[in-house]
């Protein structure tokens, strides 16, 4: 069972010489929500004596992110990911705690801060629906103080990276979802922000479009050194982009570390698949580990990590093994199981 990452003392001082570009210290956000019972009676009571309930959305979340890092922000719906992103972008004020992004306090929304960040939110769009994306890009270029030449250069560069061409001169409403998302990314990145907050940037896209957006983010990070904090329901996004992940559940941070380390943390065992010369009864395998499945001569065992070497040696010595394969359980399976079973609660 996991326990929340303690937030005090504050996040460890990074070993790298650079200062963190994102710092969250004990961030909390509580929403006040009106409660209403169904039916006429409930409506009248709601009208006459409104009752409220405080709902903690984020509780004591602390972490730091170094410049240039790509960090995945994982958690089920309602875990507090988007609320945390909104606090880090200054859209909402934290109830308690503090944040620093690119040297600024987000909720003050100073010019320097707004020019240093961007937030892309899945299906929410900033493009003007009835005009081509180029019109929205012109507006953004003016708002961020880019002259025409520089704006043109950046538009060309982003268009090339995102494989957008004549789509930029078609009304947004006529574009496919994938093309719109790519144009949204262009609009969000035209001012070349140092910190990207991406909330489900590939939501609703088909597999090919997801892969292209993913590749773009890798290229963009490599070219500009931008820092990325990314939430996604697609594990492929996380595994392809994020060496480090933050895991949040019920508003609390439960894990902050390498993606590879997450599977060790969540599942302190490894999966061993055996192909035997002939089928053996289930009791044969009890002394080796937990029997996950038995299908004729094919067996799957879960072996504690610390016993792995010893058990594999015994299996090879004691059983008629034709083939043996050791693997980590898929990360999405682990996280899915984690949230379904509430292991972190």
């Amino acid at each position: 069972m996991l326990v929340p990452v303690p937030s005090a003392p504050l996040p460890p001082v990074p070993q790298t010489p650079s200062e963190p570009i994102v710092v969250a210290r004990g961030l909390c956000k509580t929403f006040r929500v009106a409660e209403k019972q169904p039916g006429l009676g409930g409506t009248l009571r709601h009208f006459l004596r409104r009752r409220h309930r405080d709902v903690p959305a984020v509780t004591d979340v602390s972490f730091t992110i170094q410049p240039g890092e790509i960090v995945g922000f994982l958690g089920p719906n309602g875990a507090g990911k988007t609320t945390t992103l909104k606090m880090l972008t200054g859209l909402i004020h934290p109830t308690a705690g503090s944040a620093t992004v690119a040297g600024h306090t987000p909720h003050r929304r100073q010019r320097g801060f707004l020019e240093a960040i961007t937030l892309v939110m899945g299906q929410k769009q900033q493009l003007i629906w009835d005009l081509p994306p180029l019109d929205s890009l012109r507006v953004n270029a003016a708002v961020y103080g880019l002259d025409d030449t520089e704006a043109r250069r950046r538009i060309d560069e982003l268009a090339e990276m995102l494989e957008l061409g004549e789509e930029l001169t078609r009304p947004v409403r006529k574009l496919s979802l994938g093309q719109r998302m790519k144009a949204e990314l262009m609009a969000a990145l035209l001012h070349r922000p140092a910190v990207l907050f991406l909330d489900e940037p590939s939501l609703g896209l088909d597999v090919n479009a997801q892969a292209r957006v993913r590749q773009f983010l890798v290229d963009y990070n490599r070219r500009t050194g931008a820092t990325v904090l990314l939430t996604s329901h697609y594990m492929a996004d996380i595994t392809a982009l994020c060496p480090r992940v933050l895991l949040i559940h019920g508003g609390r941070l439960f894990y902050d570390g390498r993606l590879a380390g997450l599977s060790e943390r969540l599942a302190p065992w490894r999966q061993v698949r055996l192909e035997l010369a002939q089928p053996l009864p289930a009791e044969t395998f009890h002394s080796y580990g937990e029997l996950e499945s038995l299908d004729g001569a094919e067996v799957r065992l879960l072996i504690p990590r610390q016993r792995l070497t010893e058990v594999v040696a015994r299996l090879l010595n004691e059983l008629p093994v034709l083939d043996l394969e050791v693997s980590d359980p898929p990360i999405e399976e682990l996280i899915g199981r984690l949230f379904r079973q509430g292991v972190v609660a």
């Binding site: 859209l91 937030l119 929410k124 005009l131 961020y144």
Partner: protein, 274 residues
């Protein structure tokens, strides 16, 4: 939010925003033409008041002190003033706020209300040819009322219309900002519409109201929003200096109020639907 801009950058943003919004409004030109046509209330009221005058209204104590031609020009002026002071920021802002479209605007280094100002000005530019055609038709149908204001009066009328638009925009923005608290701010706008309708001069010149109402009305922003520019356009006698002073006063009051409300509202913003 610290969004102070240099003049050159501000002008460039204004130019790009206006041209983009104008392109956007042109996509809706047919709808805007219909909106322009739907603003014919002053012409209906002209019919009503003309009938009253023809029936010996002034003798009956209507107290307008206007000839038939002056009355016609007044209501044409009211129509024109209304067309260029129509404000819908409360609906657009509320919709954007509830749909989460406000969030990207809030994350850019430009006060979001400027986008709505640009959209309104672009819409006015789109309305201009339709209004010109309707005015020309009006004079064709009422040749006796034809008279053009002097250039000086015309410029004063243009200035009065811009100031009236500014007052109306600030008033409605103030209500729109209540979205941050109530989520349904446009209902409050309806409350404002009733005094606006009667005291602005849209349904009757203010002279038609009893002296007590006129005095009270003068201390509200409404008579300056339609009646004053309409009187300027119609070439009627009007207290120019005091009306402009009152408009400046209202803007001086509403501008900091709007800024304060904005600052407080943004603190409350919870990015609904975003």
């Amino acid at each position: 939010m610290s969004t102070r801009l240099s003049l050159a950058r501000g002008l460039r943003i204004a130019r790009v925003l206006l041209s983009t919004q104008y392109a956007y409004m042109l996509e809706y030109r047919a709808e805007i033409a219909l909106w322009a046509l739907s603003g014919v209330l002053p012409f209906i009221m002209l019919g009503v008041w003309s009938a009253a005058l023809a029936a010996g209204g002034d003798d009956a104590g209507l107290g307008l002190g206007l000839s038939q031609a002056e009355l016609a020009r007044y209501f044409l002026g009211a129509f024109i003033a209304r067309q260029f002071t129509v404000v819908w920021v409360v609906w657009a802002f509320e919709e954007d706020s509830l749909a989460g479209r406000l969030s990207p605007y809030l994350l850019q280094p430009l006060q979001p209300l400027w986008r709505y100002v640009a959209a309104h000005l672009a819409e006015q530019a789109t309305r201009l040819p339709f209004v010109a055609v309707i005015a020309a038709l009006f004079f064709l149908l009422q040749p006796a009322a034809f008279a053009l204001p002097s250039p000086g009066r015309f410029l004063l009328a243009v200035l009065a219309i811009w100031l009236a638009f500014a007052i109306h925009f600030l008033l409605q923005s103030l209500i729109a900002i209540l979205c941050f608290w109530s989520e349904r701010a446009q209902a409050l706008e309806r409350l404002l519409f009733i005094p606006y309708l009667f005291l602005s001069g849209l349904v009757a010149p203010l002279a038609a109201f009893p002296p007590g109402v006129r005095q009270v009305a003068f201390f509200t922003p409404f008579p300056h929003m339609i009646g004053f520019p309409a009187q300027l356009l119609a070439g009627l006698e009007v207290s120019i200096a005091s009306s402009f002073a009152a408009m400046a006063g209202w803007i001086a009051l509403l501008l900091p109020l709007t800024a304060l409300a904005w600052r407080a509202g943004v603190r409350r913003y919870t990015a609904m639907g975003a």
